[in-house]
């Protein structure tokens, strides 16, 4: 029995094509000389240059990064706190309700989240702009952070915290010295997820934003409505490349660390 018979090969090819053909097309056309998106007129990198000289794109990118960084950081802190309560507090009245309410924004339609935030900001008379987008992003990405950290805490050995208490730590210093360093990879993962969600978001940002705070997805969307320019292709290809490099590096590093650890564990058991 071969692993690559005709059936497997076909399904694999079709699957990958389905997933990645649009993206590959987009990347190919970003190198197109022509201003027309659908007609190939030779290889060129001029659209990449023009992206970097396009001030409105650069402004939007800068806003997006700031919103992403700030909202991911705050959402991770809040998400971690929520996860700690869910895993550590033991049974308390209203725990099920609390759990449900933390996870609810994940299944809430974005349009509704966006609209309700807009209504809130209007009724509170907030000037819509950078801060309202950041607040909105904290609200919806916090639950994802809570889920990621909570999954890690569920397998965290409670003995470790108790050992720290037993050796003279207060609850807070036990958390800082033992729990936090151990769950740190999960917190980092939660931050990355929140950051990506914020970079990616169009719907909620459109509701919560105001003049002067256009994020990159909003910018791309509004440009496309006027007409697809090869600049958009170039910009999108840059985003894809950044994300791909990040993901591949992260998984290679994790894999390496895992292999090293397994090898060391094997050595330790054999040595005894």
């Amino acid at each position: 029995m071969t692993r690559f018979n005709w059936f497997n090969t076909t399904t694999l090819t079709l699957g990958f094509a389905f997933l990645y053909l649009p993206i590959i097309l987009l990347m190919i056309y970003s190198f197109n000389e022509s201003r027309l998106v659908t007609v190939w007129a030779g290889f060129s990198t001029r659209w990449y240059q023009s992206v970097f000289f396009n001030e409105s794109f650069m402004n939007a990118a800068w806003v997006t990064l700031r919103v992403g960084f700030l909202s991911a950081s705050i959402a991770t802190v809040f998400g971690t706190m929520a996860a700690l309560v869910l895993n550590r507090a033991g049974p308390f009245t209203g725990k099920t309700l609390f759990t449900g309410m933390i996870y609810a924004p994940m299944v809430m339609p974005e349009v509704i989240t966006g609209l309700s935030l807009l209504l809130l900001f209007v009724s509170l008379d907030f000037t819509r702009g950078f801060w309202t987008v950041t607040l909105a992003h904290i609200t919806f990405s916090m639950c994802y952070a809570a889920v990621v950290v909570s999954a890690r805490l569920a397998t965290f050995e409670k003995d470790l915290e108790e050992a720290a208490l037993d050796l003279g730590c207060t609850r807070f210093s036990a958390f800082m010295q033992v729990t936090l360093p151990i769950i740190f990879p999960a917190i980092l993962a939660a931050w990355l997820l929140a950051f990506t969600l914020s970079l990616d978001d169009l719907v909620i940002a459109s509701f919560a934003s105001g003049p002067g705070a256009t994020t990159l997805p909003m910018k791309i969307y509004s440009q496309v409505r006027i007409g697809v320019s090869p600049e958009i292709n170039a910009l999108s290809s840059i985003l894809i490349a950044v994300v791909a490099i990040g993901v591949v590096t992260a998984s290679l590093v994790t894999k390496q660390a895992q292999l090293k650890r397994m090898k060391e564990e094997r050595l330790a058991t054999n040595a005894s």
Binding site: E157, D159, L160, E162, A163, A164, L165, D166, L167, G168, C169, T170, S173, Q177, V178, P181, I182, R261, E264, E265, L267, A268, T269, A271, S272
Partner: protein
């Protein structure tokens, strides 16, 4: 052999027999409830300085709860726990001069062996030089000097166990708690480590409290054992006393192998009671200072190795039961004969195999006589 308790040297370590001695740990009418479940029920217990005290019992008997109350992870619902004459009240774990070695070892995975050992000292703001010296002492105590820089995942099970021990000893606690400390080791390593633990305890002159469900481990390491059942202490005594003079069927049965024969009192003459145990059989004699009434139901417990087995009816034996060899358990050094008596009950008699296999005359379905002296058995009222 059964006189060992009585003939121990006079200078033996037995602070519990000295009424002037103040206990290090005192449980006073401690009750612990988890919701409706009572884990510990009105328990009073003294543990003395330099003791190696074992809490022994099946899972769910409350032994771990006792230990967690000493460590400060749980507080008694009612009653008091005092350590060195100070009432612990609701002192949190980090304010108690008590350290604990966890069953899972609970080594901090992100720290090296020496950082793990130094962790407790660092919390006390001990000077760097002192921490360094103390860590070195601990490493040499558990013979792990070459492994100081390793992370826990780079150690074998036995090495992890020793790091956990070193870490819990680093702060020189008044009391060290060991929660099933050898449970994760294989049998050979476990036996070896038991003696290491005893040596370390003696060398440092500390008080150890060990929680275990392994009666052999408790017998080997402990100065005294508390046998526990359902949140209560059944018996507290030295291993030899518990083995030779159990106070109930529960502790007789929990420690070692035992034959328990139920009967009703026939007569009590002097310090000997006779038990009617089966229709048409001679009553069994057992030494006791109790004066139970005629007809009271009670029990005779006798260890398998104290029974003798022969093919001929012995003369002048205090107790003799005729039976048929039902089964033979052979474990190399000893053979255990399971003998079926006239009333259908099975008695176990253990014989050490001094002769070669061919010279042992008793085999399956032989009619044999089991006999023992009245002093070899123990009279039990519950």
């Amino acid at each position: 052999m059964e006189t060992s308790v009585l003939t121990q040297p006079v200078c033996k370590f037995a602070p519990w027999d000295n009424p002037a001695q103040k206990p290090l740990v005192r449980f006073e009418n401690v009750t612990k409830k988890f919701g409706d479940f009572t884990a510990i029920e009105n328990l009073t217990l003294n543990i003395y300085e330099r003791e190696f005290f074992a809490l022994l019992g099946p899972s769910g008997c409350g032994k771990t709860t006792m230990m967690r109350m000493l460590a400060g992870f749980e507080y008694p619902t009612t009653g008091n726990i005092a350590l060195a004459n100070t009432n612990l009240q609701k002192a949190p774990p980090h304010k108690r001069p008590v350290n604990m070695m966890f069953q899972s070892y609970a080594l901090f995975p992100h720290m090296s062996v020496e950082q793990n050992i130094a962790f407790g000292l660092k919390q006390e703001k001990t000077s760097k030089a002192e921490i360094k010296q103390r860590v070195e002492e601990m490493l040499s105590l558990v013979q792990l000097e070459p492994f100081a820089k390793r992370k826990p995942h780079q150690l074998s099970g036995g090495q992890k166990q020793r790091v956990a021990l070193a870490r819990s000893l680093a702060k020189k606690p008044k009391l060290l708690l060991l929660d099933e400390p050898l449970g994760a080791l294989d049998k050979k390593l476990r036996e070896q480590t038991q003696f290491e633990l005893m040596n370390i305890q003696e060398q440092l002159g500390l008080t150890f409290v060990i929680v275990t469900h392994d009666q052999e481990e408790a017998m080997t390491v402990a100065s005294r054992i508390a046998v526990m059942d359902h949140g209560k202490i059944v018996q507290v005594a030295t291993p030899a006393e518990i083995y030779e003079y159990p106070n109930s069927r529960y502790s007789a049965d929990f420690i070692g192998d035992v034959n328990i024969i139920e009967g009703k009192i026939d007569v009590t003459t002097g310090e000997t009671a006779s038990l009617n145990w089966a229709e048409g059989e001679t009553p069994l004699k057992v030494s006791t200072k109790q004066r139970p009434n005629h007809g009271t139901t009670c029990w005779l417990a006798v260890r398998p190795e104290k029974l003798r087995i022969s093919k001929e009816k012995p003369e002048n034996a205090d107790n003799c039961i005729k039976g048929e060899v039902w089964d033979i358990g052979y474990t190399g050094n000893i053979s255990t004969y399971h003998v079926k008596a006239s009333n259908g009950s099975i008695l176990k008699a253990q014989v050490s195999n001094r002769e070669h296999l061919a010279d042992r005359p008793i085999t399956w379905e032989d009619t044999v006589y089991i006999h023992w002296e009245k002093g070899a058995g123990v009279f039990l009222e519950n």
